[in-house]
Structures are given as structure tokens and as C-alpha cells.
């Protein structure tokens, strides 16, 4: 289990783990990021876990750099290798297909399935949140069943509605804001993934486990706002 620390300019380090998308590798990154954050070291500005790395941003004039490096090394050694996922599964309602999921029929054709079968496959397993990025609150979740893992649209949509649930090859995710986007939109959730005014602004964090479940259009429209 290798760990490499590389510098990114004078104000960040990147702790890199094995170069693959894998729940065990990602779990190490998330655990290390949590451990560094919990230390509340002075001069550390932000700690960002991604698929297989952790980037630590700091003020180089106010951080104890040697202590940071020593902590990274000792913290990773001290932690086990088992995949930790949150015990709680976050269940997210999705109204699949129709005007809220305009690409469901395309995904069905791609998969050689009926639309209902695509829904059953997508909602039939849980997903790990590997990281957040792209826009505030956007969680990259893996792994979508390879049969429905349709590549992105050749030309992204200029405007994807808030709450759209999409597939981009083996990744799935929810658009937390109205943005451009190239993923195949198979449905929409009435849950708001990001609301800065909410006590807990973010629905998801790296390391979470998510499962989608189908709801009807009427249930979607009547869903209480969070």
C-alpha cells in the first residue's frame, strides 16, 4: 500500500494512493482527509479528498510543514485497510423517465433493456460517493452497472435542471444547481443536494453510501421541500 506525497506549488501537497478507482483506495483517502481535518492544524486552509488522493491547502508562512508531513505519514499507517462506509444508507427518491428523465429511453436502447429494467438496475444497488467536485454539492458516485453505463452525450446540454439524476459511464450523480452538463439524464429527485441556507447545507460527502428509489411523478411534485 504505497503513499506518495507530491508538492503542488508552495501552498499545497497532494497525498497520492494507488492509481485506480477503487473503494478501498478511496476509503484511505477519505479517512486520511478526515484525520487531517480533525487535527485543526494552524495554517491548514482546506483538505480535499478525491478518488485516490488528498490535497491539503495551507498558508506556507503559518503551517508547521514538517509536522503536517509527519502527521500524514503516521495517520495513514495507524489506520486499517478495511473499507469504511457510513453505516447509514442515504436513500434518495427519483422520478425516473418522462420529461424529468429525458434520456431514459436512450439509455434503454443502449442497454437493450426496457426503461423499467434500466430503473430497476439503477435503483437496485447502492453507490459509494467517491468525491465531490464540478459544482458545490455535486457528488461523483460509482459504480453504475456496466450494462447501463452509457457514455456522456457528445455535446453537453447548456442547461441541466436542478435535481436531475444522470449517468456518465460508470458514474452517477445529481445536479445540485442548474448548470451545463453532459451526463445522460434518467430522472429527477425532489431532494435538494445543496442549500447554503440549510443547517446542513450538503446532502452528501465523500465516503457516503447512497441508494436511489423510484417515485411517481405525483409523489415527486408533492414531495415536501427539505
Amino acid at each position: 500500500m504505497s503513499l506518495t506525497v507530491v508538492t503542488a506549488g508552495d501552498s499545497a501537497i497532494v497525498v497520492e494512493f494507488e492509481e485506480r478507482i477503487d473503494p478501498e483506495v478511496n476509503a484511505r483517502a477519505v479517512r486520511l482527509a478526515d484525520a487531517i481535518t480533525a487535527q485543526q492544524m494552524s495554517g491548514v486552509l482546506d483538505v480535499v479528498p478525491t478518488y485516490r488522493s488528498v490535497t491539503v491547502y495551507f498558508d506556507p508562512l503559518r503551517v508547521d510543514y514538517d509536522r503536517l508531513l509527519a502527521f500524514v505519514d503516521s495517520a495513514d499507517h495507524a489506520m486499517g485497510v478495511e473499507v469504511t462506509t457510513s453505516a447509514e444508507v442515504i436513500r434518495i427518491p427519483v422520478c425516473y423517465g418522462g420529461e424529468l428523465g429525458p434520456d431514459l429511453s436512450e439509455v434503454a436502447s443502449f442497454a437493450g433493456m426496457t426503461e423499467q429494467e434500466v430503473v430497476d438496475v439503477h435503483a437496485g444497488r447502492s453507490y459509494r460517493v467517491y468525491m465531490l467536485g464540478f459544482v458545490a454539492g455535486f457528488a461523483y458516485m460509482c459504480s453504475v452497472d456496466t450494462r447501463i453505463a452509457m457514455p456522456r452525450r457528445p455535446t453537453p446540454r447548456v442547461r441541466v435542471p436542478l435535481g436531475s439524476v444522470g449517468i456518465g459511464t460508470v458514474q452517477t450523480g445529481i445536479y445540485p444547481a442548474e448548470t451545463p452538463g453532459g451526463w445522460r439524464l434518467i430522472g429527477r429527485t425532489p431532494i435538494t443536494p445543496f442549500d447554503p441556507a440549510r443547517a446542513e447545507p450538503f446532502l452528501l460527502k465523500a465516503g457516503d453510501t447512497v441508494q436511489f428509489f423510484p417515485i411517481t411523478r405525483a409523489e415527486h411534485d408533492a414531495w415536501p421541500s427539505s
Binding site: 503542488a8 508552495d10 486552509l45 485516490r52 490535497t55 461523483y140
Partner: protein
């Protein structure tokens, strides 16, 4: 009390030091393109370093003050008028008083691309996730998540008694070494450190990067500068498993033309980053405009830190005279 926008300029946004602490949730940092000039402007009016101010881009605004305020403009140099009368400041980044009801107007741009207008008491828009920085693309923070428009009333914080006069008048301000304030030109050199993914490029690529200037393309913005110049060749393909994207990183997509990531960058990305601009030289890059040229020069970590320490000492002399 408020600041009323008469004319907004090209892109005038409220910025504090940025929305740090939420990149793990995909929240971009935003904040000033030129953090040194931002900090200097706050120091000149006696604000805390974290106070929010206006970042002015290329074409400046006209603003009406509802009460008398001490202000300072750092970074890019514009001709300034108060109610039509030209004010001359030496050095340009010096505090001055704007009377109640007066209009401060930014005129011709003389040097640099981005000016920072700090007002004693700061701009008191509601913080979002702990920050008043505007991120225009996601409509977050600042004044209604956008650049200012005519008729906007920007709420101002209360100025302390000590901030009500320009004191001492005509104080000579230290010239900042290695900052945009002294190094604004249509071509500038910024120093870089290799990495974090220099090993993803052909061995000669760092030499290629330094071989000729890059032109900043017209579609450059607060997210990043798209650069036209020598092509950088990847050694193992143009994609990596997405990781975090820091301020000043030079990411290189399949075209081989680098993009310099700036204040409004996304938090993560899937292109390899050949080098990263040193913190001390970020203001130099920030003071360049589309059409200007930028040269890159690899330096050592030691040189990067020495420049940063010199810059810090100069800023501390203004903050703690």
C-alpha cells in the same frame, strides 16, 4: 449606509479572501484574483484582512457614497475622479476620503487589469458558507451572487473612529516587491514550481513551457486563463483520475495548450497539471488582461518561499506600522 452603483464597469464583484474550507464539498474558493493587492487595500483603510471589498476588472465603476468614507484602491491603476475632480495619489495605493454624497468614478486604466477598492468598514453583504466572496458562475455570495449592476445598494459595515480620517495623511506606502503593484506590463514573467503532475509530460516539456511567452486568450476569465503558445506534450495521455485543482495550477488538456487556473476555478479536474505558479507571483498573473503575454520560469521552492516572506514583511509593515 450604502454604496450606490451608478455605473457597474465591466465586471465588478464583492470579494473577501475567499470561501475556504468547503472544497471537499465541491464549493469553489473564489476570492480575489490578486490577493496581495486585496490585502494591501484593506490594510490602507484599517480594515481586517478578511473584510469584503470590490474587485474592479478592466473597466471601472462609478459609485455614490451615502456617507463619508476613507477608501483605498490597490492593484491596477486607474485615473480616479470625485464628483468630476481628478484626484492624484502618490503612490496610487494610498488612502483618501470620499465625502458624503460624492461620486467616485474610475476613468482610464493606466496599468494592470484588476483594481481593489477597499472602503473603511467593509462591504457588509450576508456571508454564504462563511464568506462574502462572489462566485458568479454558481451565483453564490457577494451581492446577490452576481457582478454589481446600476442601482445596486451595497451595504457597508460601520467604520471605527480610527477609520474616519486618513491618518497620517500622505503616509508613504512601501512598494511591494514581487507584487503586481510594481510589475504590471503587457508581458510579464511568473515563476512556477514543477508539478503536481510534471511526470505526465514528455521530459522536455518544462523547457518548452519556458521557451516562449503565452498569449492570454480572449475567452479567459476569473476561472482561468486560456493560453496560446508552445504546445506541451503529454507522456501518458491527457487524462488523470480527477483530483483537486489549486490556484495557479497549469492544467493541460489534450490540445497541449495550458490553462492557468485562477480564483473561480472548479475544485477538481481530470487534466494533468505540469506546474503551479508560486504564491508570490499570483498577483503578477492577475494583473494581466486578455491579449497580454505571460512567460513562465521554473524556480526553486527556496526562491518561492523567499519571495513570499519578503512580500509578507512588506504587507506587515502596512498592516502594523
Amino acid at each position: 449606509m450604502a454604496l450606490v452603483v451608478i455605473r457597474p464597469g465591466m465586471l465588478t464583484t464583492v470579494q473577501d479572501r475567499g470561501r475556504w474550507g468547503y472544497q471537499s464539498r465541491g464549493v469553489p474558493v473564489a476570492g480575489p484574483m490578486d490577493p496581495v493587492s486585496h490585502r494591501l487595500a484593506n490594510a490602507l483603510v484599517g480594515n481586517d484582512a478578511g473584510a469584503a471589498m470590490l474587485e474592479v476588472t478592466l473597466l471601472g465603476p462609478e459609485l455614490e457614497f451615502e456617507d463619508e468614507r476613507v477608501v483605498a484602491v490597490a492593484g491596477a491603476v486607474f485615473s480616479l475622479t470625485i464628483d468630476g475632480r481628478t484626484i492624484s495619489l502618490s503612490p496610487p495605493a494610498s488612502p483618501f476620503l470620499v465625502p458624503m454624497g460624492a461620486r467616485l468614478r474610475f476613468g482610464a486604466r493606466l496599468r494592470g487589469a484588476r483594481a481593489y477598492l477597499a472602503i473603511a468598514g467593509g462591504i457588509d453583504v450576508p456571508p454564504v458558507l462563511g464568506s462574502r466572496a462572489t462566485h458568479v458562475i454558481s451565483a453564490m455570495g457577494g451581492f446577490e451572487g452576481r457582478a454589481v449592476r446600476p442601482g445596486d445598494r451595497l451595504p457597508l459595515g460601520a467604520a471605527s473612529d480610527a477609520q474616519r480620517t486618513v491618518s497620517p495623511p500622505g503616509v508613504p506606502i512601501v512598494t511591494l516587491p514581487d507584487s503586481g503593484a510594481g510589475a504590471i506590463a503587457s508581458e510579464a514573467t511568473v515563476r512556477v514550481l514543477p508539478g503536481p503532475q510534471a511526470d505526465r509530460f514528455m521530459i522536455e516539456s518544462l523547457d518548452v513551457l519556458q521557451s516562449a511567452p503565452y498569449v492570454i486568450a480572449q475567452n479567459s476569465d476569473r476561472m482561468g486563463f486560456r493560453l496560446d503558445g508552445p504546445v506541451l506534450a503529454h507522456s501518458r495521455g491527457p487524462e488523470i483520475i480527477s483530483d483537486a485543482t489549486g490556484l495557479g495550477a497549469l492544467q493541460v488538456p489534450s490540445s497541449g495548450q495550458p490553462i492557468l487556473l485562477m480564483a473561480d476555478r472548479q475544485t477538481t479536474g481530470g487534466y494533468p497539471k505540469i506546474a503551479t505558479v508560486i504564491t508570490a507571483d499570483l498577483p503578477i498573473a492577475a494583473q494581466l488582461a486578455p491579449g497580454d503575454s505571460i512567460r513562465f520560469a521554473v524556480c526553486s521552492q527556496r526562491e518561492a518561499m523567499a519571495s513570499l516572506i519578503a512580500q509578507e514583511q512588506a504587507l506587515l509593515r502596512v498592516e502594523q506600522p
